[in-house]
Amino acid sequence: MKKLINDPDGVVRDALVGIEVAHPDLRVDHENRIIYRREPTRPGKVALISGGGSGHEPLHGGYVGFGMLDAACAGEVFTSPTPDQMVEATKTADSGAGVLHIVKNYTGDVMNFEMAAELAESETGVRVASVVTDDDVAVQDSLYTAGRRGVGVTVLLEKIVGAAAEEGRDLDTLAELATRVNASGRSMGMALTSCIVPAAGKPTFDLPENEMEIGIGIHGEPGRHRVPLAGAREIAEQLVEPILADHDFTGAPAIVLLNGMGGSPLLELYLMYGEVQRILEASGVTVARSLVGNYITSLEMAGCSVTLLRADDELLGLWDAPVATPGLRWGV
């Protein structure tokens, strides 16, 4: 296993040290593995908290800052954080206006955040609302699965709802907005290679040189199908088509995220984005905003995902609003 680490079981602990020293605008509670903004939540502002397994950087710690999150809880690699962490973050970040938990739809994340919300409300009286993101069309949302996974739309939601929170909107309004954003977004991902979970020490799955996985998530798990390796144009089709089949993205401005899984060079991500945008245009989708890069990753996995968000003037305005985090930054 070739990694820039000291100890496979201490990766998250050690990385948090680097995050703290690299970003003077952030503060890290190492005992609880929570990344906060340096300044406490402004009174009256609803606090946005998220968290999840580590290995998806810059998600979530890289989205703590003005215009996005107030705190992020870091779990072990690909393992959701614990309720204790979330309770601590909730209590600390609350300014009295309540806390919105942004949770990606995975069994572990949902259960841990649920327990945290119960504990936080009962122990401290902090008002907690939650939104669970589930935008991954690779998974059937049915009784026979754990439901669609939360992937790329989580980034867009943290940005948009984060901007609305800075405006001073209240908890219920933000929860409603978050639900609307999630319902308007869809994603689909693919992998050329597996990643290596440090504590596991070897690739999660083996993928022959002439094959790729379609319909992967962000935890290095295998996808829905294994298919022959194809060119970028064909891959773009395999990602965009299921998204467009699942939701109508015509007749409204769309925000598009072409996301790298962590191990693909930016050169290739741009190339993929060119292909994606071409298909979208041909399908009558109006791309109003776009983001190309590594925003929600799966360690060193090579591959990419596409996220589409059906927007409107309000969402575009919130998207364009100032943001200052390590992972997304504009307007300030």
């Binding site: 393992t79 699965t145 504590a199 999660t204 798990e221």
Partner: protein, 213 residues
């Protein structure tokens, strides 16, 4: 003479034995989780059980309830993922069922295990056949109940065997809960990691209580 009840010390020994098995089989559990999950079940369980045992060593519980709460809370607060809340809830409910008791006879043990199972079902909303730890836990408790008339040790041994059989029976199933459900039909043909750790849980119970026969 066959034993007829478990003391808190037995429960602690069970915890330690389970910890030993999780550490010993850490890589194998992670390997199973690689096939249909995210390659962390072994490190999750080893980390959690290690913490649980350390906690018990710091503060020795005096009642079944205190033991269950200590192990359950430690798992909840040190594991994360799906297994943290699920195993955590199992031990918390087990402890709540035992309450202030300092010993559990066969019937009380059966009731406590059943309370644990109910907790896992309530937390995870899985059903039998969904290819989860439930598929080892459920059969184990049914076998326990069916054998309880033959005494505590026999019931534990029966539970252990049924858990192992339940674990094996997850192989042909298509997952409908947890991460493995994302794989759809590709989850077929792999043993569930959580059912495997649960089979070890009953193995540990049998060994720690000398019910190995």
């Amino acid at each position: 003479m066959a034993r007829t009840s478990l003391t808190v010390a037995d429960l602690v020994a069970w915890t330690q034995r389970f910890r030993d098995l999780m550490v010993e089989h850490r890589a194998a559990l992670t390997e199973l989780d690689s096939a249909i999950g995210d390659a962390d079940h072994g490190s999750n369980m080893a980390r959690g059980m290690q913490s649980a045992v350390e906690k018990l060593e710091q503060t020795a519980p005096e009642t079944v309830g205190a033991w269950g709460k200590s192990v359950g809370m430690t798992l909840v607060s040190s594991v994360g993922g799906a297994s943290g809340p699920l195993y955590g809830t199992f031990f918390l409910r087990f402890g709540a069922s035992g309450g202030d008791a300092t010993e559990l006879d066969a019937a009380a043990l059966g009731a406590a295990l059943r309370a644990g199972l109910e907790g896992v079902l309530a937390r995870g909303k899985a059903e039998p056949g969904d290819k989860t730890m439930i598929d080892a836990l459920g059969p184990a408790l049914d076998a326990f109940d069916a054998a309880v008339d033959q005494g505590l040790e026999a019931a534990i041994a029966a539970a252990r065997d049924a858990a192992a059989a339940g674990r094996d029976a997850t192989e042909p199933l298509q997952a409908r809960k947890g991460r493995a459900s994302y794989l759809g039909e590709r989850s077929i043909g792999h043993v569930d990691p959580g059912a495997t750790s649960t089979a070890y849980l009953f193995d540990a119970l049998a060994t720690a209580t000398g019910s190995a026969a």
